[in-house]
Symmetry: none
Subunit: 413 residues, 2 copies
């Protein structure tokens, strides 16, 4: 079955916004065995949308369309779909109810503008939106079954997995091919180095496609297998995953694509250990990443974001003499910070960061990209220093934070 993807909206058309929805949808469709042949993007223009819908209708079996289902005047995708289908818009009861419920649940008054979102092309089936006001809809136009979804990524993703994929799988029936994917998250090697390490795996598994995806600063190794025999594909992927683990060792964070903070959280929970953090250059990022995981209050006690030397001394209890002797950015200072934050909070582990995220503040000896990390455990305290070459403040903060968490991960293993 041939699939096409269409994204609509002036923001993506004009380049103000990068269209990441289409890649996400393409991957999801390919995973259930569809062959995505084309993506297109057009702006908020009635004729442009209607005309491309007709084109796709003549070429594809399935199409997923995003954008233009909001309540405002430039949201015209439903109207364009009706135009392409040669029908008209009608108020859909399910859609209206789902919008009303959205507001009711939140004890808010429904804006009259939102009523427009219940107008769907005649003959279409409403796809309820569990996360927003814009219901989607499915409708057949020419030879193609179209799924219209909102452009807000969080809403689109939910509806894609909960509504669209099950419908497509049902449609597919017994003819489906299985497209399976394994996602192995790694940290600590560049994309080129990961690739080089895995060359023999590519050779030994000709039926498996290997893709590398940088979700900075992690590199995710994706293994794709496809075939009619699900068990066979799955077994092949399992075996290839084993080879990747062999080749990359403890650079592998997770064999199911989990990010660093989730892996560290679970390790802490399993050990019934607690953690406190003293952050300088990461500015709260370590703590923000950890508290993004639900249930983090079980192990996360405290983070002190101590930018100034004064706050390091006064609030963490760092000895002034250590900072004076070594400077704020130094393994010894980082060790002292980790020990202090562990002590004042009674945590099992103390983790600290002190470095230079840039753009200014670098010296020859300690250039921008330098990070010192301290890790205090129940039995010892360790200090580390790394220099990264990304030259970008936000990338530096990110790689500093993930490096600190990675050191804790290795300690917990």
């Amino acid at each position: 079955m041939i699939a096409e993807i269409l994204s609509t909206g002036d923001e993506v058309r004009s380049g103000a916004l990068v269209d990441s929805n289409s890649a996400y949808i393409a991957e999801a469709l390919e995973e259930v065995g569809l062959e995505v042949t084309r993506h297109s993007t057009v702006g908020d223009d009635l004729d442009a949308i209607a005309s491309i819908i007709k084109e796709i209708g003549a070429r594809a079996d399935v199409s997923v369309v995003t954008g233009g289902l909001g309540p405002t005047t430039d949201d015209i995708t439903a109207e364009a779909a009706a135009l392409a289908a040669g029908t008209e818009l009608c108020e859909d009861d399910t859609a209206l109810l789902s919008i009303e419920n959205f507001f009711k649940k939140r004890q808010r008054l429904m804006n009259p503008l939102n009523r427009k979102q219940a107008l769907l092309p005649k003959g279409s089936k409403c796809l309820e939106n569990p996360a927003g006001t814009a219901p989607g809809f499915a409708v057949r136009i020419e030879n193609c079954l179209f799924f219209f979804l909102p452009g807000v990524p969080s809403e689109m993703k939910k509806m894609l997995s909960e509504k669209v994929i099950p419908e497509i799988t049902a449609l597919w029936g017994g003819h489906r091919e299985y497209s399976l994917v394994r996602n192995i998250s790694t940290f600590g090697l560049t994309e080129a180095a990961v690739n080089e390490n895995l060359l023999s795996v590519i050779d030994d598994y000709p039926d498996i496609r290997l893709g590398l995806r940088a979700t900075f600063p992690e590199i995710h190794v994706k293994l794709y297998g496809r075939g009619k025999d699900e068990k066979k594909v799955s077994g092949l992927l399992e075996s290839a995953t084993g080879r990747v683990l062999e080749k990359l060792g403890n650079r592998v964070i997770s064999t199911i694509g989990e990010p660093m903070e989730l892996v560290v959280s679970r390790l802490l929970k399993n050990k019934k250990a607690t953690l406190s953090v003293a952050e300088s250059c990461t500015g709260g990022l370590v703590s923000n990443m950890l508290t993004n995981i639900p249930g983090s209050s079980d192990y996360f006690l405290f983070s002190g974001v101590t930018y100034s030397n004064e706050s390091k001394i006064k609030l963490l209890g760092v000895q002034q003499s250590v900072i004076e002797k070594y400077g704020a950015v130094h393994e010894e200072t980082a060790k002292e910070m980790a020990v202090c934050v562990r002590r004042i909070t009674g945590a099992t582990y103390g983790l600290s960061t002190s470095g230079i995220a840039g753009p200014s503040g670098g010296t020859d000896e300690k250039p921008v990209g330098t990070i010192c990390i301290g890790l205090a455990t129940p039995v010892e305290v360790k200090g580390f220093r790394f220099v990264f070459q990304f030259g970008d403040r936000l990338m530096n903060k990110k790689v500093f934070a993930v490096t600190a968490l990675d050191l804790l991960r290795r300690e917990l293993l």
Copy 2:
């Protein structure tokens, strides 16, 4: 002049790679006054590429195509362009020389495979690549002038600005149009409410297109103007911006699209004021956002991420009796946290958050989405409570943090 963008390659088609090239090119073309009407993506398939090139040739005046110019067997864009143009590939002297020079300069031997990259469709003009081996080319197919560029972003960007844009501007001659855009960031109203507030602006400025962009939790109002007279377009946008300000008042954060943390940072700097933060439910996000701005050490003193009651009492000095009387999530507790963090750090302002980000921990009285915020200034302390209905931990953290910063922003104004 109508422009279309085409990206080729299995990586973008299958979603393994997000196509950020197309957005970049669209913005660059719109900036010089072209009207980008459509982007398309197809895989490394000869017929698919040739057929879409023909389609574009019939619709557009100009087209920029990326990808498939490399030395390997799946790089087939030049062949597809020749097929679409009804011509054949010939070795191009300029192209061959530029490839040879690339290797000579780097004192490397040219791989025989690279010679293939000098094969261009007959009648096309070589566009030299200053940064890689793949030369681009320009060729007219049907009514459209096509520019073929490599897919590697760094090479594409260089060639776009150095080769393509000058050619288009020359072609455009005195007829060029100016496309200007204003980006007004707002916070505090839903997208529907912003739209409703601005209906009269849309009516009064028929030559200006208004677009809303949700960069959660901010809503950005974008005003687009286009015309031959740059001054006139600019004046019209200025006047419309004034009307938006009138309508939205202090919901407007910035008239140049700046995010909340940048606006707050500047206000603090201008006032030579300092800030300390006590974060509970935002878990370091407020502090992470502020420290993303270079130079934040000028005003940002400290953030204590105090998840537990114990750390609030022991490390911030919050009175146990306040927590016992009101509970951790309460305006009075938030006020006490703000006062304490201001006092222990000597900051001009103390800002605090305490709430329930979810997914669990909500009660009937304090449901998930409840946030209490404290703001201690040199003269007083204020407490606030809001309940948001997003029902998602990360969205709640985000809206909590931005709400806290917005209260500080209003205080600083």
